[in-house]
Amino acid sequence: MNQEGKERQLTDRARRMLEQRLEELDEETIGRLYEARQKALHRPSPRRPRWIAMGGWAAAAASFLLVVTLWNSDNRTPEAPGIFEDLELLSTKEDMEFIEDLDFYLWLDDEQQTG
């Protein structure tokens, strides 16, 4: 057999052995690879911290009280629209999403620190 043929035979053997090792990967390792892939591709679903949930209820109660107070007030001052604008700003969907992403920021920050 010539040199090239011999070399091909050797690399064929190596390939078979490497494939063999690939088949020996255990479930835990395969799971960890899956996890790594998910972390690279998706934002982890945010767990909303308890204070945000409680804050939500508190904000709703405060808003309700404010609306009732303003409704009953005879003094409809020019400040009122300003207050409503603030409320609108605070309750926009974008802002809540921003807050909900805090977990993600913290996770990625942690990844950077440890990486």
Binding site: E7, L10, T11, R13, A14, R15, R16, M17, L18, Q20, R21, L22, E24, L25, D26, E28, T29, I30, R32, L33, A36, R37, K39, A40, L41, H42, R43, F98, I99, D101, L102, F104, Y105, L106, L108, D109, E111, Q112, Q113, G115
Partner: protein, 204 residues
């Protein structure tokens, strides 16, 4: 490290940037990337295990490489991902080697270096393989090949894995390794020569 303040939390700017990049990658691209990674991750992981000698570092390397591919090349044509991903993985492995060398030098400097060149090689016991006495002959040989590959200089190891296992052309291997085709041929030939005795013993 550049940081910004979001709702009282210190957040690394890179983190915010990565979040913004992910937001721009379409769902369709993410699904394609998911399929692509699922198809190659085990093989590149095994390459990283052979290079580093342990699973944890190999997993870190693969995850870093995945993040880099998403960050830099998610919008590229699907066909380009393979070569690009191999290039990123090989570069990340090389960076890992450099960091290890610096770490060993520092530890040696303060007299704490316990690495006599064999320490990491023994970590192959951590690859999820069965105990040596349970291995069939071919498995035992495969484990020996892992160890022999790990002992090769990194460039020889990379050339061998990409050429012999992945079946890549000299040109593709050169691209993945970031060197000339001539260097690939030299590294590959030296690797085959170094592994010859071991491979000749193997009778499948």
């Amino acid at each position: 490290m550049a940081e910004c303040n979001i709702y009282g939390c210190r957040v690394n700017n890179n983190v915010v940037r990565y979040w913004a990049i992910l937001g721009r990658v379409s769902l369709e691209s993410r699904q394609k990337l998911d399929r692509f990674f699922a198809g190659v991750e085990r093989r590149v992981f095994r390459m990283a295990v052979v290079a580093t000698g342990n699973q944890d570092d190999a997993l870190d390397i693969i995850q870093d490489a995945m993040i880099k591919l998403v960050k830099l090349y998610a919008d590229r044509d699907e066909k380009e991902w393979g070569p690009l991903f191999h290039r990123i993985v090989q570069t990340t492995i090389r960076d890992w080697y450099r960091r290890q060398r610096v770490r060993r030098r520092l530890l040696g400097f303060v007299g704490l270096n316990r690495d006599d060149g064999e320490t990491e090689k023994e970590d192959f016991a951590d690859t999820g393989a069965p105990a040596a006495h349970e291995l069939l002959d071919h498995s035992r040989m495969a484990l020996r090949l892992d160890r022999a590959l790990h002992r090769l200089p990194l460039r020889q190891q990379q050339a061998f894995m990409l050429r012999a296992w992945e079946g890549q052309s000299v040109a593709d291997t050169a691209r993945a390794m970031g060197c000339s085709e001539g260097s690939v041929k030299t590294h590959y030939s030296r690797a085959v020569h170094a592994l010859r005795d071991l491979l000749e013993d193997y009778r499948p």
